[in-house]
Protein backbone atom coordinates (compact mmCIF):
# COMPACT_ATOMS: atom_id res chain seq x y z
CA UNK A 1 0.00 0.00 0.00
CA UNK A 2 1.40 3.37 -0.89
CA UNK A 3 2.01 5.94 1.80
CA UNK A 4 -0.70 8.09 0.38
CA UNK A 5 -3.26 5.29 0.44
CA UNK A 6 -2.34 4.49 4.01
CA UNK A 7 -2.65 8.11 5.00
CA UNK A 8 -6.08 8.31 3.43
CA UNK A 9 -7.19 5.13 5.15
CA UNK A 10 -6.11 6.53 8.50
CA UNK A 11 -7.86 9.76 7.74
CA UNK A 12 -11.16 8.01 7.36
CA UNK A 13 -10.88 5.60 10.21
CA UNK A 14 -10.11 8.16 12.87
CA UNK A 15 -7.06 8.33 15.14
CA UNK A 16 -7.28 4.74 16.30
CA UNK A 17 -8.45 3.02 13.19
CA UNK A 18 -10.73 0.05 13.57
CA UNK A 19 -10.25 0.01 17.29
CA UNK A 20 -12.56 2.99 17.43
CA UNK A 21 -15.56 0.72 17.73
CA UNK A 22 -14.12 -1.22 20.65
CA UNK A 23 -13.09 1.95 22.35
CA UNK A 24 -16.48 3.50 21.81
CA UNK A 25 -18.14 0.42 23.27
CA UNK A 26 -15.87 0.57 26.30
CA UNK A 27 -16.61 4.24 26.71
CA UNK A 28 -20.34 3.67 26.56
CA UNK A 29 -20.07 0.88 29.11
CA UNK A 30 -18.15 3.08 31.53
CA UNK A 31 -20.53 5.96 31.06
CA UNK A 32 -23.40 3.59 31.73
CA UNK A 33 -21.63 2.54 34.92
CA UNK A 34 -21.51 6.20 35.88
CA UNK A 35 -24.98 7.29 34.98
CA UNK A 36 -27.24 4.29 35.42
CA UNK A 37 -26.78 2.69 38.88
CA UNK A 38 -28.42 5.58 40.65
CA UNK A 39 -31.63 4.93 38.77
CA UNK A 40 -32.11 1.53 40.39
CA UNK A 41 -33.86 3.31 43.25
CA UNK A 42 -36.74 4.21 40.95
CA UNK A 43 -38.25 0.74 40.51
CA UNK A 44 -37.60 -0.05 44.19
CA UNK A 45 -39.56 3.02 45.20
CA UNK A 46 -42.63 1.63 43.52
CA UNK A 47 -42.26 -1.78 45.11
CA UNK A 48 -45.29 -3.41 46.72
CA UNK A 49 -43.12 -5.38 49.18
CA UNK A 50 -42.53 -4.19 52.70
CA UNK A 51 -38.80 -4.61 52.62
CA UNK A 52 -36.02 -4.42 50.08
CA UNK A 53 -36.42 -7.12 47.43
CA UNK A 54 -35.67 -7.11 43.79
CA UNK A 55 -37.45 -7.59 41.52
CA UNK A 56 -40.41 -6.09 43.35
CA UNK A 57 -43.35 -8.49 43.64
CA UNK A 58 -45.77 -5.81 42.56
CA UNK A 59 -46.18 -2.11 42.09
CA UNK A 60 -47.47 0.43 44.57
CA UNK A 61 -47.08 4.05 45.50
CA UNK A 62 -47.19 3.25 49.20
CA UNK A 63 -43.68 4.51 49.86
CA UNK A 64 -44.42 7.88 48.34
CA UNK A 65 -47.59 8.07 50.40
CA UNK A 66 -45.61 7.13 53.48
CA UNK A 67 -43.11 9.87 52.76
CA UNK A 68 -45.65 12.61 52.19
CA UNK A 69 -47.74 11.60 55.18
CA UNK A 70 -44.85 11.30 57.59
CA UNK A 71 -44.37 14.24 59.94
CA UNK A 72 -40.70 13.37 60.37
CA UNK A 73 -39.89 13.14 56.68
CA UNK A 74 -41.83 16.26 55.73
CA UNK A 75 -40.32 18.15 58.62
CA UNK A 76 -36.83 17.15 57.59
CA UNK A 77 -37.52 18.07 53.95
CA UNK A 78 -38.88 21.47 54.89
CA UNK A 79 -35.95 22.05 57.20
CA UNK A 80 -33.47 21.20 54.46
CA UNK A 81 -35.22 23.65 52.17
CA UNK A 82 -35.06 26.42 54.73
CA UNK A 83 -31.41 25.81 55.49
CA UNK A 84 -30.47 25.51 51.82
CA UNK A 85 -32.34 28.70 50.92
CA UNK A 86 -30.71 30.71 53.69
CA UNK A 87 -27.32 29.20 52.91
CA UNK A 88 -27.79 30.11 49.27
CA UNK A 89 -28.43 33.75 50.19
CA UNK A 90 -25.58 34.03 52.67
CA UNK A 91 -23.03 32.21 50.55
CA UNK A 92 -23.96 34.06 47.35
CA UNK A 93 -23.69 37.49 48.98
CA UNK A 94 -20.46 36.74 50.80
CA UNK A 95 -18.96 34.82 47.92
CA UNK A 96 -19.81 37.33 45.21
CA UNK A 97 -18.35 40.15 47.30
CA UNK A 98 -15.21 38.13 47.88
CA UNK A 99 -14.92 37.24 44.20
CA UNK A 100 -15.21 40.90 43.27
CA UNK A 101 -12.49 41.76 45.73
CA UNK A 102 -10.24 38.99 44.50
CA UNK A 103 -9.98 40.67 41.10
CA UNK A 104 -7.47 43.04 42.60
CA UNK A 105 -3.97 42.30 43.70
CA UNK A 106 -3.11 42.92 47.31
CA UNK A 107 -0.71 41.77 49.93
CA UNK A 108 -1.66 38.40 51.35
CA UNK A 109 -3.82 37.49 48.38
CA UNK A 110 -2.45 33.94 48.07
CA UNK A 111 -3.24 33.35 51.71
CA UNK A 112 -6.78 34.63 51.31
CA UNK A 113 -7.20 32.43 48.23
CA UNK A 114 -6.10 29.45 50.25
CA UNK A 115 -8.42 30.27 53.14
CA UNK A 116 -11.36 30.58 50.80
CA UNK A 117 -10.98 27.28 49.00
CA UNK A 118 -9.83 25.46 52.13
CA UNK A 119 -13.30 24.15 53.02
CA UNK A 120 -13.37 22.20 49.77
CA UNK A 121 -9.93 20.67 50.11
CA UNK A 122 -10.06 19.88 53.81
CA UNK A 123 -11.80 16.51 54.34
CA UNK A 124 -15.36 17.18 55.47
CA UNK A 125 -15.06 15.01 58.57
CA UNK A 126 -12.46 17.38 59.96
CA UNK A 127 -14.60 20.44 59.32
CA UNK A 128 -17.53 18.58 60.83
CA UNK A 129 -15.89 17.75 64.13
CA UNK A 130 -14.30 21.18 64.37
CA UNK A 131 -17.67 22.89 64.02
CA UNK A 132 -19.30 20.30 66.28
CA UNK A 133 -16.80 21.10 69.03
CA UNK A 134 -17.52 24.80 68.63
CA UNK A 135 -21.29 24.40 68.52
CA UNK A 136 -21.35 22.10 71.55
CA UNK A 137 -20.00 24.96 73.63
CA UNK A 138 -22.19 27.60 72.02
CA UNK A 139 -25.36 25.50 72.25
CA UNK A 140 -25.90 25.75 68.50
CA UNK A 141 -26.47 22.06 67.91
CA UNK A 142 -29.87 21.31 66.46
CA UNK A 143 -30.56 24.89 65.41
CA UNK A 144 -31.30 26.21 61.96
CA UNK A 145 -28.94 29.20 62.23
CA UNK A 146 -26.22 26.75 63.26
CA UNK A 147 -26.82 24.63 60.18
CA UNK A 148 -26.95 27.66 57.89
CA UNK A 149 -23.66 29.04 59.22
CA UNK A 150 -21.90 25.71 58.83
CA UNK A 151 -23.29 25.07 55.36
CA UNK A 152 -22.33 28.56 54.26
CA UNK A 153 -18.74 27.68 55.13
CA UNK A 154 -18.97 24.77 52.71
CA UNK A 155 -20.82 26.63 49.97
CA UNK A 156 -18.76 29.80 50.03
CA UNK A 157 -15.74 28.46 48.12
CA UNK A 158 -17.95 27.18 45.32
CA UNK A 159 -19.59 30.56 44.92
CA UNK A 160 -16.23 32.35 44.86
CA UNK A 161 -14.87 29.96 42.25
CA UNK A 162 -17.89 30.14 39.95
CA UNK A 163 -18.38 33.91 40.20
CA UNK A 164 -14.62 34.34 39.95
CA UNK A 165 -14.58 32.42 36.70
CA UNK A 166 -17.45 34.52 35.39
CA UNK A 167 -15.59 37.69 36.36
CA UNK A 168 -12.48 36.52 34.58
CA UNK A 169 -14.48 36.25 31.39
CA UNK A 170 -15.97 39.65 32.04
CA UNK A 171 -14.48 42.59 30.22
CA UNK A 172 -13.47 45.14 32.81
CA UNK A 173 -12.99 47.87 30.30
CA UNK A 174 -16.79 48.10 30.25
CA UNK A 175 -16.63 49.23 33.86
CA UNK A 176 -13.97 51.78 33.05
CA UNK A 177 -16.05 53.04 30.17
CA UNK A 178 -19.09 53.45 32.39
CA UNK A 179 -17.08 55.34 34.98
CA UNK A 180 -15.62 57.56 32.32
CA UNK A 181 -19.17 58.37 31.29
CA UNK A 182 -19.82 59.59 34.83
CA UNK A 183 -21.27 56.58 36.71
CA UNK A 184 -20.12 56.08 40.30
CA UNK A 185 -18.94 52.69 41.50
CA UNK A 186 -22.28 51.47 42.77
CA UNK A 187 -24.07 52.49 39.58
CA UNK A 188 -21.37 50.83 37.55
CA UNK A 189 -21.79 47.64 39.48
CA UNK A 190 -25.55 47.67 39.39
CA UNK A 191 -26.03 48.66 35.76
CA UNK A 192 -22.99 47.23 33.99
CA UNK A 193 -21.27 44.48 35.95
CA UNK A 194 -24.18 42.80 37.65
CA UNK A 195 -26.37 42.17 34.61
CA UNK A 196 -23.44 40.67 32.77
CA UNK A 197 -22.31 38.36 35.53
CA UNK A 198 -25.85 37.50 36.61
CA UNK A 199 -25.90 34.04 34.95
CA UNK A 200 -22.72 33.19 36.82
CA UNK A 201 -24.19 34.39 40.09
CA UNK A 202 -27.33 32.37 39.54
CA UNK A 203 -25.28 29.25 38.77
CA UNK A 204 -23.27 29.88 41.90
CA UNK A 205 -26.42 30.34 43.94
CA UNK A 206 -27.89 27.07 42.67
CA UNK A 207 -24.62 25.32 43.43
CA UNK A 208 -24.71 26.73 46.96
CA UNK A 209 -28.29 25.56 47.36
CA UNK A 210 -27.50 22.02 46.30
CA UNK A 211 -24.34 21.91 48.40
CA UNK A 212 -26.41 22.69 51.47
CA UNK A 213 -29.40 20.56 50.56
CA UNK A 214 -27.30 17.42 50.03
CA UNK A 215 -24.82 18.00 52.82
CA UNK A 216 -24.60 15.01 55.13
CA UNK A 217 -21.40 14.68 57.14
CA UNK A 218 -21.67 17.98 59.00
CA UNK A 219 -25.39 17.39 59.45
CA UNK A 220 -24.69 14.05 61.13
CA UNK A 221 -22.90 15.93 63.86
CA UNK A 222 -24.77 19.19 64.26
CA UNK A 223 -28.35 18.73 63.14
CA UNK A 224 -29.22 17.03 66.39
CA UNK A 225 -32.39 15.23 67.34
CA UNK A 226 -34.61 18.24 67.04
CA UNK A 227 -33.56 19.51 63.64
CA UNK A 228 -32.67 16.68 61.30
CA UNK A 229 -32.09 17.67 57.72
CA UNK A 230 -33.34 15.45 54.92
CA UNK A 231 -29.94 13.79 54.35
CA UNK A 232 -29.61 13.16 58.11
CA UNK A 233 -33.08 11.64 58.15
CA UNK A 234 -32.07 9.44 55.23
CA UNK A 235 -28.82 8.45 56.92
CA UNK A 236 -30.74 7.38 60.04
CA UNK A 237 -33.38 5.73 57.92
CA UNK A 238 -30.91 3.65 55.94
CA UNK A 239 -29.73 2.20 59.21
CA UNK A 240 -32.86 2.01 61.32
CA UNK A 241 -35.68 1.41 58.86
CA UNK A 242 -36.20 -1.68 56.79
CA UNK A 243 -38.76 -0.32 54.38
CA UNK A 244 -38.01 1.32 51.03
CA UNK A 245 -39.30 4.79 51.96
CA UNK A 246 -35.68 5.81 51.43
CA UNK A 247 -36.04 4.69 47.84
CA UNK A 248 -38.97 7.01 47.23
CA UNK A 249 -37.15 9.95 48.81
CA UNK A 250 -34.10 9.12 46.71
CA UNK A 251 -36.18 8.99 43.55
CA UNK A 252 -37.70 12.37 44.28
CA UNK A 253 -34.22 13.80 44.89
CA UNK A 254 -32.99 12.40 41.58
CA UNK A 255 -35.90 14.00 39.78
CA UNK A 256 -35.24 17.35 41.45
CA UNK A 257 -31.54 17.16 40.59
CA UNK A 258 -32.32 16.43 36.96
CA UNK A 259 -34.70 19.39 36.77
CA UNK A 260 -32.12 21.73 38.31
CA UNK A 261 -29.40 20.52 35.96
CA UNK A 262 -31.63 21.07 32.96
CA UNK A 263 -32.41 24.56 34.27
CA UNK A 264 -28.73 25.37 34.58
CA UNK A 265 -28.07 24.03 31.09
CA UNK A 266 -30.80 26.25 29.70
CA UNK A 267 -29.41 29.22 31.59
CA UNK A 268 -26.04 28.52 30.06
CA UNK A 269 -27.58 28.49 26.64
CA UNK A 270 -29.03 31.95 27.26
CA UNK A 271 -26.15 33.46 29.20
Amino acid sequence: MTDRARALRLEEAGPLGRRNVLLAALGVAILAFLALPTFVVLPISFSAATYLTFPPPGWSTQWYTRYFESREWMGATWRSFQVALLTMCAATVLGTAAALALRRQFRGKPLVNLAIIAPIVVPVIITAIAIYGLYARLRLIGTIPGLVMAHTVMALPFVVVVVGATLRAFDETLELAAQNLGANRWQTFRLVTLPLIRPGIISAALLAFITSFDEIVIAIFISGARAPTLPKQMWDGIRTEIDPTIASVSSLLIMVTTVVLVAIALLRRRG
Binding site: Y51, E72, R139, G142, R185, A225, R239, T240, E241
Partner: protein, 353 residues
Protein backbone atom coordinates in the same frame (compact mmCIF):
# COMPACT_ATOMS: atom_id res chain seq x y z
CA UNK B 1 -15.02 56.59 52.34
CA UNK B 2 -16.78 56.17 49.01
CA UNK B 3 -20.53 56.09 48.79
CA UNK B 4 -20.49 52.45 47.72
CA UNK B 5 -18.70 51.26 50.80
CA UNK B 6 -20.71 53.53 53.08
CA UNK B 7 -23.96 52.13 51.74
CA UNK B 8 -22.62 48.59 51.95
CA UNK B 9 -21.61 48.96 55.57
CA UNK B 10 -24.92 50.58 56.37
CA UNK B 11 -26.80 47.72 54.78
CA UNK B 12 -24.77 45.13 56.66
CA UNK B 13 -25.30 46.99 59.90
CA UNK B 14 -29.05 47.24 59.48
CA UNK B 15 -29.36 43.58 58.61
CA UNK B 16 -27.34 42.52 61.65
CA UNK B 17 -29.28 44.77 63.99
CA UNK B 18 -32.58 43.53 62.61
CA UNK B 19 -31.49 39.94 63.06
CA UNK B 20 -30.49 40.55 66.64
CA UNK B 21 -33.67 42.45 67.43
CA UNK B 22 -35.79 39.61 66.14
CA UNK B 23 -34.03 36.94 68.19
CA UNK B 24 -34.64 38.41 71.63
CA UNK B 25 -38.44 38.61 71.87
CA UNK B 26 -38.60 35.05 70.60
CA UNK B 27 -36.87 33.40 73.57
CA UNK B 28 -39.84 33.25 76.01
CA UNK B 29 -41.91 31.91 73.15
CA UNK B 30 -39.28 29.25 72.59
CA UNK B 31 -39.32 28.29 76.26
CA UNK B 32 -43.07 27.92 76.31
CA UNK B 33 -43.02 25.88 73.12
CA UNK B 34 -40.53 23.51 74.69
CA UNK B 35 -42.85 22.77 77.58
CA UNK B 36 -45.54 21.78 75.14
CA UNK B 37 -43.28 19.35 73.36
CA UNK B 38 -41.39 16.28 74.47
CA UNK B 39 -38.39 14.90 72.66
CA UNK B 40 -38.45 11.14 73.01
CA UNK B 41 -35.59 8.99 71.81
CA UNK B 42 -36.17 5.31 71.20
CA UNK B 43 -34.79 2.52 69.07
CA UNK B 44 -36.36 3.34 65.72
CA UNK B 45 -37.90 1.03 63.16
CA UNK B 46 -40.81 -1.26 63.88
CA UNK B 47 -40.51 -0.87 67.65
CA UNK B 48 -40.71 2.90 67.57
CA UNK B 49 -43.57 2.70 65.15
CA UNK B 50 -45.40 0.43 67.57
CA UNK B 51 -44.69 2.92 70.35
CA UNK B 52 -45.95 5.71 68.14
CA UNK B 53 -49.30 4.01 67.59
CA UNK B 54 -49.80 2.68 71.12
CA UNK B 55 -48.16 5.38 73.24
CA UNK B 56 -47.08 8.59 71.52
CA UNK B 57 -50.24 9.37 69.59
CA UNK B 58 -52.67 8.52 72.44
CA UNK B 59 -50.53 10.61 74.79
CA UNK B 60 -50.57 13.56 72.43
CA UNK B 61 -54.33 13.28 72.13
CA UNK B 62 -54.85 13.17 75.86
CA UNK B 63 -52.43 15.84 77.01
CA UNK B 64 -51.82 18.03 73.98
CA UNK B 65 -48.08 17.69 74.48
CA UNK B 66 -46.42 17.16 71.10
CA UNK B 67 -43.96 14.31 70.87
CA UNK B 68 -40.87 14.89 68.76
CA UNK B 69 -39.24 11.59 67.96
CA UNK B 70 -35.55 10.82 67.79
CA UNK B 71 -33.63 7.62 67.24
CA UNK B 72 -31.71 5.48 67.80
CA UNK B 73 -30.81 5.38 71.46
CA UNK B 74 -27.07 5.37 71.97
CA UNK B 75 -25.39 5.35 75.35
CA UNK B 76 -22.32 7.14 74.03
CA UNK B 77 -24.44 9.89 72.57
CA UNK B 78 -26.43 10.22 75.76
CA UNK B 79 -23.24 10.55 77.75
CA UNK B 80 -21.86 13.09 75.31
CA UNK B 81 -25.03 15.14 75.52
CA UNK B 82 -25.19 15.28 79.27
CA UNK B 83 -21.49 15.96 79.75
CA UNK B 84 -21.41 18.75 77.20
CA UNK B 85 -24.64 20.31 78.40
CA UNK B 86 -26.36 19.89 75.03
CA UNK B 87 -29.19 17.62 76.16
CA UNK B 88 -31.45 17.14 73.17
CA UNK B 89 -33.51 14.23 74.45
CA UNK B 90 -36.09 14.85 77.18
CA UNK B 91 -36.89 11.17 77.64
CA UNK B 92 -35.04 8.11 76.46
CA UNK B 93 -35.98 4.46 76.02
CA UNK B 94 -32.86 2.59 77.11
CA UNK B 95 -31.82 -0.98 77.69
CA UNK B 96 -31.98 -2.09 81.30
CA UNK B 97 -28.23 -1.96 81.88
CA UNK B 98 -28.13 1.71 80.87
CA UNK B 99 -30.21 2.58 83.91
CA UNK B 100 -27.57 1.30 86.31
CA UNK B 101 -24.71 2.51 84.13
CA UNK B 102 -26.31 5.90 83.64
CA UNK B 103 -26.93 6.25 87.34
CA UNK B 104 -23.33 5.34 88.07
CA UNK B 105 -22.08 7.89 85.55
CA UNK B 106 -24.37 10.56 86.93
CA UNK B 107 -26.27 11.05 83.69
CA UNK B 108 -29.86 10.61 84.83
CA UNK B 109 -32.61 12.33 86.77
CA UNK B 110 -34.30 10.24 89.49
CA UNK B 111 -37.86 9.07 88.83
CA UNK B 112 -40.65 10.89 90.59
CA UNK B 113 -42.73 7.96 91.78
CA UNK B 114 -45.30 10.31 93.26
CA UNK B 115 -46.53 10.72 89.72
CA UNK B 116 -46.61 7.07 88.69
CA UNK B 117 -48.73 4.16 89.92
CA UNK B 118 -46.30 1.25 90.13
CA UNK B 119 -48.33 -1.08 92.34
CA UNK B 120 -48.76 -3.72 89.66
CA UNK B 121 -45.40 -3.34 88.01
CA UNK B 122 -42.81 -6.10 88.37
CA UNK B 123 -40.51 -4.82 91.12
CA UNK B 124 -37.43 -5.81 89.14
CA UNK B 125 -37.95 -2.94 86.71
CA UNK B 126 -38.87 -0.24 89.21
CA UNK B 127 -35.51 1.45 89.75
CA UNK B 128 -34.46 4.76 91.22
CA UNK B 129 -33.34 6.25 87.94
CA UNK B 130 -35.56 4.40 85.50
CA UNK B 131 -38.89 2.63 85.12
CA UNK B 132 -39.33 -0.38 82.87
CA UNK B 133 -41.55 -0.23 79.83
CA UNK B 134 -41.36 -3.54 77.98
CA UNK B 135 -39.74 -6.95 78.24
CA UNK B 136 -37.96 -8.19 75.15
CA UNK B 137 -35.58 -10.97 74.20
CA UNK B 138 -32.46 -11.26 72.13
CA UNK B 139 -32.85 -14.51 70.30
CA UNK B 140 -31.41 -16.59 67.50
CA UNK B 141 -33.20 -15.78 64.26
CA UNK B 142 -32.87 -17.85 61.12
CA UNK B 143 -33.91 -17.84 57.48
CA UNK B 144 -36.66 -20.34 56.77
CA UNK B 145 -35.63 -20.24 53.15
CA UNK B 146 -32.27 -21.76 54.06
CA UNK B 147 -33.64 -23.92 56.90
CA UNK B 148 -37.20 -24.79 55.91
CA UNK B 149 -37.80 -27.93 57.91
CA UNK B 150 -36.68 -27.13 61.40
CA UNK B 151 -33.07 -28.05 60.76
CA UNK B 152 -31.83 -24.66 61.86
CA UNK B 153 -29.31 -24.17 64.69
CA UNK B 154 -31.16 -24.49 67.98
CA UNK B 155 -28.48 -23.41 70.39
CA UNK B 156 -25.56 -21.05 70.48
CA UNK B 157 -23.10 -23.90 70.19
CA UNK B 158 -24.78 -24.71 66.88
CA UNK B 159 -24.78 -21.06 65.79
CA UNK B 160 -21.04 -21.04 66.48
CA UNK B 161 -20.61 -24.25 64.46
CA UNK B 162 -19.78 -22.82 61.06
CA UNK B 163 -18.94 -26.22 59.63
CA UNK B 164 -22.34 -27.74 60.25
CA UNK B 165 -24.21 -24.55 59.56
CA UNK B 166 -22.22 -22.54 57.04
CA UNK B 167 -23.49 -19.29 55.65
CA UNK B 168 -23.45 -15.56 56.30
CA UNK B 169 -24.40 -14.37 59.78
CA UNK B 170 -25.01 -11.11 61.54
CA UNK B 171 -24.57 -10.29 65.21
CA UNK B 172 -24.63 -7.03 67.08
CA UNK B 173 -21.60 -4.77 67.27
CA UNK B 174 -21.88 -4.54 71.03
CA UNK B 175 -20.81 -6.81 73.89
CA UNK B 176 -24.27 -6.72 75.41
CA UNK B 177 -26.00 -9.08 73.00
CA UNK B 178 -22.98 -11.31 72.48
CA UNK B 179 -20.94 -12.25 75.52
CA UNK B 180 -23.57 -14.42 77.20
CA UNK B 181 -24.15 -16.27 73.93
CA UNK B 182 -20.42 -16.71 73.44
CA UNK B 183 -20.19 -18.35 76.85
CA UNK B 184 -23.18 -20.58 76.17
CA UNK B 185 -21.62 -21.59 72.87
CA UNK B 186 -18.53 -22.55 74.83
CA UNK B 187 -20.57 -24.84 77.06
CA UNK B 188 -21.34 -22.69 80.11
CA UNK B 189 -24.78 -23.66 81.49
CA UNK B 190 -27.42 -20.92 81.62
CA UNK B 191 -27.58 -20.75 85.39
CA UNK B 192 -23.83 -20.21 85.71
CA UNK B 193 -23.46 -17.39 83.18
CA UNK B 194 -23.07 -14.54 85.67
CA UNK B 195 -20.66 -13.07 86.60
CA UNK B 196 -19.28 -13.33 83.07
CA UNK B 197 -15.95 -14.99 82.50
CA UNK B 198 -14.90 -12.19 80.17
CA UNK B 199 -11.68 -13.73 78.87
CA UNK B 200 -13.45 -16.95 78.00
CA UNK B 201 -16.26 -15.04 76.30
CA UNK B 202 -13.91 -13.09 74.07
CA UNK B 203 -11.96 -16.24 73.17
CA UNK B 204 -15.23 -17.80 72.16
CA UNK B 205 -16.10 -14.74 70.08
CA UNK B 206 -12.75 -15.09 68.32
CA UNK B 207 -13.84 -18.46 67.01
CA UNK B 208 -16.74 -17.01 65.11
CA UNK B 209 -15.47 -13.48 64.41
CA UNK B 210 -14.40 -14.01 60.83
CA UNK B 211 -17.69 -15.66 59.86
CA UNK B 212 -19.75 -12.65 60.76
CA UNK B 213 -20.67 -10.84 57.59
CA UNK B 214 -22.30 -7.79 59.09
CA UNK B 215 -22.09 -6.39 62.60
CA UNK B 216 -25.41 -4.66 63.11
CA UNK B 217 -25.82 -1.45 65.03
CA UNK B 218 -29.56 -0.79 64.81
CA UNK B 219 -32.46 -3.07 65.69
CA UNK B 220 -33.87 -3.03 62.18
CA UNK B 221 -30.71 -4.27 60.53
CA UNK B 222 -30.73 -7.98 61.41
CA UNK B 223 -34.40 -8.17 60.43
CA UNK B 224 -33.72 -6.46 57.14
CA UNK B 225 -30.66 -8.57 56.41
CA UNK B 226 -32.63 -11.76 57.03
CA UNK B 227 -35.56 -10.55 54.95
CA UNK B 228 -33.31 -9.48 52.07
CA UNK B 229 -31.52 -12.79 52.14
CA UNK B 230 -28.25 -11.07 52.91
CA UNK B 231 -27.69 -13.41 55.88
CA UNK B 232 -29.06 -16.79 56.92
CA UNK B 233 -28.61 -16.48 60.68
CA UNK B 234 -28.78 -13.60 63.10
CA UNK B 235 -29.00 -12.51 66.68
CA UNK B 236 -31.88 -10.09 66.92
CA UNK B 237 -34.62 -8.68 69.12
CA UNK B 238 -37.67 -10.91 68.94
CA UNK B 239 -40.15 -8.15 68.14
CA UNK B 240 -38.28 -7.01 65.02
CA UNK B 241 -38.20 -10.55 63.65
CA UNK B 242 -41.86 -11.13 64.48
CA UNK B 243 -42.70 -7.99 62.54
CA UNK B 244 -41.04 -9.10 59.33
CA UNK B 245 -42.48 -12.60 59.67
CA UNK B 246 -45.88 -10.97 59.83
CA UNK B 247 -45.03 -9.03 56.68
CA UNK B 248 -44.24 -12.24 54.84
CA UNK B 249 -40.48 -12.58 55.23
CA UNK B 250 -39.08 -16.08 55.43
CA UNK B 251 -37.66 -15.96 58.93
CA UNK B 252 -38.06 -17.81 62.20
CA UNK B 253 -37.41 -17.29 65.91
CA UNK B 254 -35.60 -19.80 68.13
CA UNK B 255 -36.44 -19.14 71.80
CA UNK B 256 -33.96 -21.63 73.21
CA UNK B 257 -31.12 -19.94 75.10
CA UNK B 258 -32.55 -16.53 74.38
CA UNK B 259 -31.74 -13.64 76.69
CA UNK B 260 -34.63 -11.96 78.44
CA UNK B 261 -34.18 -8.28 79.22
CA UNK B 262 -36.18 -5.11 79.45
CA UNK B 263 -36.27 -1.52 78.31
CA UNK B 264 -36.69 1.38 80.69
CA UNK B 265 -37.62 5.02 80.45
CA UNK B 266 -34.96 7.36 81.76
CA UNK B 267 -34.73 11.13 81.92
CA UNK B 268 -31.32 12.58 81.08
CA UNK B 269 -29.91 15.09 83.51
CA UNK B 270 -30.62 18.51 82.06
CA UNK B 271 -33.72 17.38 80.20
CA UNK B 272 -35.77 20.38 79.12
CA UNK B 273 -39.11 18.86 79.99
CA UNK B 274 -38.82 16.70 83.10
CA UNK B 275 -42.44 17.23 84.01
CA UNK B 276 -43.74 16.18 80.61
CA UNK B 277 -41.45 13.16 80.70
CA UNK B 278 -42.84 11.94 84.02
CA UNK B 279 -46.39 12.52 82.78
CA UNK B 280 -45.58 10.35 79.79
CA UNK B 281 -44.09 7.60 81.94
CA UNK B 282 -47.16 7.58 84.14
CA UNK B 283 -49.40 7.41 81.08
CA UNK B 284 -47.59 4.50 79.48
CA UNK B 285 -47.39 2.42 82.66
CA UNK B 286 -51.15 2.02 82.73
CA UNK B 287 -52.24 -1.56 81.96
CA UNK B 288 -54.32 -0.68 78.89
CA UNK B 289 -51.44 1.18 77.26
CA UNK B 290 -49.04 -1.60 78.23
CA UNK B 291 -51.31 -4.08 76.52
CA UNK B 292 -51.80 -1.87 73.47
CA UNK B 293 -48.23 -2.18 72.24
CA UNK B 294 -48.51 -5.97 72.00
CA UNK B 295 -51.02 -5.42 69.19
CA UNK B 296 -48.20 -4.04 67.07
CA UNK B 297 -45.09 -5.80 68.28
CA UNK B 298 -44.73 -8.81 70.58
CA UNK B 299 -42.94 -7.28 73.54
CA UNK B 300 -44.04 -8.22 77.07
CA UNK B 301 -45.64 -5.71 79.44
CA UNK B 302 -44.10 -4.76 82.78
CA UNK B 303 -47.52 -4.17 84.34
CA UNK B 304 -49.03 -7.45 85.54
CA UNK B 305 -52.56 -6.12 85.08
CA UNK B 306 -51.90 -5.66 81.38
CA UNK B 307 -52.35 -9.39 80.83
CA UNK B 308 -56.07 -8.86 81.47
CA UNK B 309 -56.17 -6.92 78.23
CA UNK B 310 -54.00 -9.15 76.08
CA UNK B 311 -55.40 -11.72 73.69
CA UNK B 312 -54.07 -15.19 74.67
CA UNK B 313 -53.11 -15.84 71.05
CA UNK B 314 -50.87 -12.78 71.12
CA UNK B 315 -49.56 -13.69 74.57
CA UNK B 316 -48.04 -16.85 73.16
CA UNK B 317 -45.46 -14.84 71.23
CA UNK B 318 -44.42 -12.66 74.13
CA UNK B 319 -40.98 -13.23 75.59
CA UNK B 320 -42.48 -13.34 79.06
CA UNK B 321 -44.90 -16.14 78.22
CA UNK B 322 -43.94 -19.05 80.52
CA UNK B 323 -43.35 -21.39 77.57
CA UNK B 324 -40.80 -18.96 76.19
CA UNK B 325 -39.31 -17.51 79.33
CA UNK B 326 -38.44 -20.87 80.85
CA UNK B 327 -35.99 -21.54 78.04
CA UNK B 328 -34.23 -18.24 78.39
CA UNK B 329 -31.72 -16.65 80.69
CA UNK B 330 -32.71 -13.46 82.49
CA UNK B 331 -30.20 -10.67 82.20
CA UNK B 332 -28.20 -9.66 85.24
CA UNK B 333 -28.75 -5.96 84.95
CA UNK B 334 -26.63 -5.05 87.96
CA UNK B 335 -23.63 -6.83 86.46
CA UNK B 336 -24.05 -5.04 83.16
CA UNK B 337 -24.71 -1.70 84.77
CA UNK B 338 -21.43 -1.85 86.59
CA UNK B 339 -19.36 -3.21 83.74
CA UNK B 340 -20.98 -1.68 80.67
CA UNK B 341 -18.38 1.02 80.04
CA UNK B 342 -15.37 -1.19 80.66
CA UNK B 343 -16.71 -4.01 78.52
CA UNK B 344 -17.67 -1.63 75.71
CA UNK B 345 -14.13 -0.29 75.61
CA UNK B 346 -12.73 -3.78 75.57
CA UNK B 347 -15.16 -4.75 72.82
CA UNK B 348 -14.25 -1.76 70.65
CA UNK B 349 -10.57 -2.56 70.93
CA UNK B 350 -11.24 -6.22 70.15
CA UNK B 351 -13.48 -5.35 67.24
CA UNK B 352 -10.94 -3.58 65.06
CA UNK B 353 -8.21 -6.18 65.52
Amino acid sequence: MSSVTRRYILKMGILTAAGGALARPLSPLIARAQARQLVVCSWGGAYQEAQRKSMFEPFEKETGIKIVEASPTDYGKLKAMVLSGNVEWDLVDVGDRMVTAGAKDGLLEPMDYQMVDTRDVFPQVVQKYGLGTIYYSTILAYSTKKYPSGNHPKSWAEFWDVKRFPGPRTVRNNPIDNLEFALMADGVPMDKIYPLDVERAFKSMDRVKKQITVWWTTGAQPAQLLADGEVDLATAWNGRIATIIQQGAKAGIEWNQGKLQWDSWVIPKGSRNKDGAMKFIAFTTQPEIQAAITKYIPYGPVNKKAFDFIDPKVAKDLPTHPENSKRQVMVDTIYWGENLTALTEKWNAWFVK
